[in-house]
Structures are given as structure tokens and as C-alpha cells.
Amino acid sequence: MDEADLGLRRRTYAFLVEHGRAPGAEELGDPDDVLDGWRRLHAEHAIVLNPATDELRMLNPFSAVPTAYRVAAGARWWYGNCAWDAFGICAALHTDGRVETSCPDCGETLTVEIRDERPDDESLLFHCLVPAERWWDDIVFT
């Protein structure tokens, strides 16, 4: 990953944090150049594109599209790609926050306040279905 692509990645994440949404390629420069860079970053697992549209799908730990993991942090609402990423949004922003989701089994609303990096409800469990070796085989499923 060269300095130009690292710079594009920085600008992409900075746009997300400033505006609360992922940018379109045309909002960061020449769309063809930006898309080429995003494709290289996607190949390096630094971002995730929607393969059908070339739009941003994940700026991990943030999701560029709505998900079951909503996170209130830094005076905004965000979406996480999964439970790990939802907690990761507070980590990346270096702030406390609140994760809202529902139990995939019963649909019960689950709300977790994160203060000083610790969840207020310590009884909840995190289940990871896919082993680490295969996380990037299908990162959206993972």
C-alpha cells in the first residue's frame, strides 16, 4: 500500500467522520482515480466495496450501509458491520457510546452502554461463527 493510497484512505475516513456518511467517489476527486484507489484498498482489505456498484460498503469498523448494529458515539449515530465493529466504533473515535441491536434468536432489544471501554451489561455473550482463517472469504457474511 503506497503513500497515495494511504492518503486516499485517510481522506475517505475523514469524510465519513466529518459528514456521518461515506463519500461518493466524485466527492474525493477525479472519480476514476478514486475508484482505482478504492479497488486497490479493497484488495488489501483496507476498505470494502460493493462489488456490484463500486460504492463503499465498509470502512471498518464503520458500515456505509444500515445494519442491525446502531452505535451512538461522538454526537452521531453510526452503523457497525457486526458486534465487534460496533464496539470498535467507540474505540476508533476514542469515546464512550451506546450500541443498540437485537438478539438474532429472539429479537429482544439489546442495548449496551460503553463507558471507559467497558460495557455496562456484562452478562451478554458474543458469538463468532466463522473461524479467523476464513473471515475474509466473505467478509459481509462474517
Binding site: A46, D85, A91, D121, S123, H127, E133
Partner: protein
Amino acid sequence: MNLFRSEEHISRWLGGRKPGTTIPVTKLSELAHAWWDDRLSPDWVPHTRDQNMAILDRLGLTGEFWTLP
């Protein structure tokens, strides 16, 4: 990668599928903070596999399931 109320809910959700692994939400929070803490840093560069494995090892997330490719 989901949150659940209890082991009973996980088992029911899995149905007949092979389970992955389950950790307490407190461990998840430790993992998330160690893994994503630097993601918005201007100096961020991709973690190496060894760096990520070191995070997992430090948190006791070891064994075949947690071994990165």
C-alpha cells in the same frame, strides 16, 4: 459476529449449524478496543498478521479458531 442474551439463545439460533466460538461481551470490548483503536489515526498503516495475532494472543484468544491465515 453477533451479541446474544445467553448460551441458550446462541444454541437456538445455530439450529443444526456447527458453533463457532463464544466469548463474554467484556472480552469483546477489550478486543475491539485493541483492534480498532488506531483506525482513524493519521499515521495508520495496515496491521501486519503478527501484530493482529499478538492482540489475540494477549487477550487469550488462542487456538485454531483464532489463528489468522
